[in-house]
Amino acid sequence: MRDVVPKLSRPLAYTTVMTTLDRLFKKGLLDRHKSDRAFLYSPHLSRQEWERQCAGSLVAGFLSGPSPSRELLLSCLLDAVGEHDARLLDELEKKIRCRRKELIRQGQP
């Protein structure tokens, strides 16, 4: 609690922070254990796991809908994946070119 309060963007009452953390713990988003007289809170999921879970539930929501919304989602996903793949490959090629130039500068043609 002592660590959380000073890091907030705006000042909040100690009890408000305590209630919020307690609610997040009860919702299963935080883990906590007692150390002396204080509670130590830690995230239940890593950022990656949390984002994966959010994306999964969003996609599952769309897929459980009527057929047109399913097709729309799949078509959007395919477009996005295609664009992402091309961008990713461009970035990787750029990195390869940079590394090649670096090796030539170091005298390893």
Partner: protein
């Protein structure tokens, strides 16, 4: 249910196999995350070997127990030519054991057959050439698909499409082929065969797939390191080959008993970034961790052998089995 002598033994063996395999596999599944984290801190080759050993461990333990203790104790201590009642639980577990085995064997046979079919088809439509100094032959298939793979179990063949041959420069092609040769030297297709044969916890559920995927990733990384051989230029050539092949589109679906240059498409970025890092990773010759792993395996083997040879082991196992049977 009353069963004759031999059928009782079969039921007992299958039930013991199912219980032991399921319990050990469950323990492995629980420790899966920690095991993968531990593997990530090791060299890719060591990590791949460790994860494969962990995946096979439940199957190996169950086979060792059944073959080394169940069968000898039954044959030695169970009076022959008697029919005995067998408990319902034993029969159900025996049936589950039989189902587990059948599913594994069927899966393996299906993969073997599709691998043979695929190789035969590639040889029929392609041109097979011998590569000097290499034991496996190279099959060139007239196709634009991004195909560069090592396929087959006993005599794996290198399959390459003419599209890939034309798309890659000679350095890129050399490192890409070296990557596949590294898979051949590591016998990765034989390891895939073992993965198919080793059953999971239950017949149709595969929670240990997480370990298999992690093994596959580290096997690819180890082959990348071997192909680069600690040379920065070779590492860059291999990275360029990976990107060029990825640009050709999605890889064709290959049988399970094969390794492809772009086996884990999702891992492409991580693989390229590894290859481009400042000091390329040289493949480990014989790391101390490997020596430690070998020592642990030897000690484990010696422990199991001592247990099998102990005079009181077989009667004890027989008593336990009797309890289990009824």
């Amino acid at each position: 249910m009353t069963l004759p002598y031999l059928l009782r033994m079969v039921c007992l063996c299958l039930a013991s196999f199912f219980v032991l395999n399921a319990v050990a596999a469950l323990l492995v599944r629980i420790s899966c995350k920690s095991a993968i984290r531990f593997a990530e801190s090791r060299a890719p080759g060591t990590a791949a070997r460790f994860l494969l050993a962990l995946r096979i461990l439940p199957f190996a333990l169950a086979i060792l127990f059944v073959g080394g203790l169940c069968v000898p104790s039954y044959l030695w201590l169970e009076p022959a030519a008697t029919a005995e009642r067998v408990g319902l639980l034993s029969v159900v577990l025996g049936l589950l054991g039989a189902l587990t085995w059948s599913v594994s064997v069927a899966r393996t046979a299906h993969s073997l057959a599709s691998s043979l079919r695929h190789n035969r088809l590639c040889r029929l439509v392609g041109e097979e050439i011998r590569v000097p100094g290499e034991s496996s032959s190279l099959v060139i298939v007239e196709n634009d698909a991004p195909l560069l793979a090592l396929s087959g179990l006993i005599r794996p063949r290198l399959l390459i499409s003419s599209g890939v041959l034309h798309a890659l420069s000679s350095e890129e092609l050399d490192t890409a082929l070296a990557h596949e040769q590294a898979h051949r030297r590591s016998r990765d297709n034989a390891k895939r065969f073992l993965l198919l044969l080793a059953p999971d916890i239950f017949p149709f559920v595969r929670p240990l797939r997480t370990l298999e995927r992690a093994w596959s990733k580290f096997a690819e990384w180890a082959a990348d390191d071997q192909a680069a051989g600690g040379d920065a230029n070779r590492a860059v050539s291999l990275a360029a080959a990976l990107v060029h092949v990825a640009r050709m589109g999605s890889a064709p679906r290959l049988p399970f008993l094969s390794t492809s240059l772009l086996a884990c498409d999702r891992d492409l970025s991580a693989r390229v970034n590894r290859l481009l890092q400042a000091s390329p990773i040289a493949p480990a010759r014989f790391a101390p961790t490997q020596a430690r792993l070998r020592t642990i395996s030897l000690l484990l083997g010696a422990g199991v052998a001592a247990l099998l040879l102990a005079p009181s082991a077989l009667p004890l196992v027989h008593e336990l089995l009797e309890l289990f049977l009824h």
